[in-house]
Symmetry: C2
DNA sequence: AAATAAAGGACTAATTAGGTCGTATATATG
DNA sequence: CATATATACGACCTAATTAGTCCTTTATTT
C-alpha cells in the first residue's frame, strides 16, 4: 500500500549520483545504470520524464548525458512523485474511477484528511533532503 | 504508490457502520455488503482478519454477525493497516527482498526517515478518527 | 433437521509495476 | 561526412500484486 516504486528509487539514486558528480558535469544513463546495477532502459525512461519536467537537462551525442537544471532544494517531493508516477499518485479512495455512492460514504472525508496530511508532509520535504550526499 | 486498498476501504466502511449500529448489536457481513455494494466474499475475508486480530468479535449462526471488541480509539492506524495488509505494508525501498548493494546505497537512510515520519503520523491517528460517525 | 452466519482454502481475473525492444534523432569527433 | 554515442519515445511483454469468486467446513439458532 505504501512502497516507493522502482522508478522513483532509480530516479533518486540517479539524482544523488549526479549531485555527487557536480553540478556542471554530465552524467550518462549508461554510467548510472552500470554503477548501480539498474536496468538501462527503465532508467533511461525515467530520466526522460525528469528531462521533460526540466528537473534535468539532456545533452545528446558522445560525452553527452544529463545535468541538473533546477536546484533540488526547490523541488518538493510531491512534485517529484507526480512527475514520475503521473498526477494523483497520493493516498485516496477510488472515488474518481467508479464509485457511485460518494454522497453516502462516511469514510471519505477522514480519508481525505489523511491524504492532506501526507501531501502536506511531502510538500515540506525537498528533493535535496533525499539526494544530498553531504 | 500511495492508495488505500479495497480491503482497507471495505474494513473501514464496515467498522464505521458497526459503530453506527451501536456497540452491543451484531452486524452481519451480508448486511454490510448489501447496503454498501461491497463484494460479500471479499468483505467476509477482511472481517475474518479483524476477528482474528480481535478488533471485532464474531458470533456464528442465525442472527449472528460481528460486534466491536476493542475500542476503536485505542487502535492505531498503523496496527490496523498491518492487520489487513500484513506486516511491512509501509513505505520502504526493496532492501529486504533482493537488494545486494545496501551498504553502498546513498538514498536508503533518507527514505527511512520519510518512512518513519509516515509511520509516526499513522501512529497518531486512531481507527476511531476515521470511522467515527459523529 | 434446516437455515444462517462465520472460517478458511483454492482458484481466477484484473490491474499495476517492472522490464525489454526497436527505431528515430541529435551531436561530438576523427 | 561517416561513425559512434547519447537521448527520445512508442510498442510490447512479463512479473507481481490486488481484487474478486467459488466451494467446503463449522458453529449455532430456531
Ligand atoms: S465508497 Fe467512499 S471510500 Fe469508497 S470509493 Fe466511494 S467515496 Fe471513496
Ligand atoms: S538499499 Fe538502496 S539500492 Fe537497495 S533497495 Fe533500498 S534504495 Fe534501492
Amino acid at each position: 500500500m505504501l512502497k516507493i516504486t522502482r522508478k522513483v528509487e532509480y530516479a533518486l539514486i540517479a539524482l544523488s549520483q549526479m549531485q555527487l558528480n557536480g553540478d556542471e558535469s554530465l552524467t550518462s544513463v549508461k554510467e548510472i545504470s552500470q554503477q548501480n546495477d539498474i536496468p538501462y532502459e527503465l532508467l533511461a525512461k525515467t530520466m526522460q520524464l525528469l528531462a521533460k519536467a526540466e528537473i534535468v537537462e539532456a545533452v545528446k551525442g558522445p560525452q553527452g548525458g544529463y545535468r541538473l537544471k533546477k536546484d533540488p532544494t526547490d523541488i518538493k517531493m510531491t512534485t517529484f512523485f507526480e512527475i514520475i508516477e503521473g498526477p494523483m499518485g497520493f493516498m485516496d479512495c477510488s472515488f474518481d474511477s467508479n464509485c457511485h455512492q460518494i454522497r453516502s460514504c462516511s469514510i471519505r472525508t477522514p480519508i481525505q484528511r489523511i491524504n492532506d496530511s501526507i501531501r502536506n508532509m511531502f510538500n515540506n520535504i525537498s528533493l535535496n533532503d533525499i539526494t544530498r550526499t553531504t
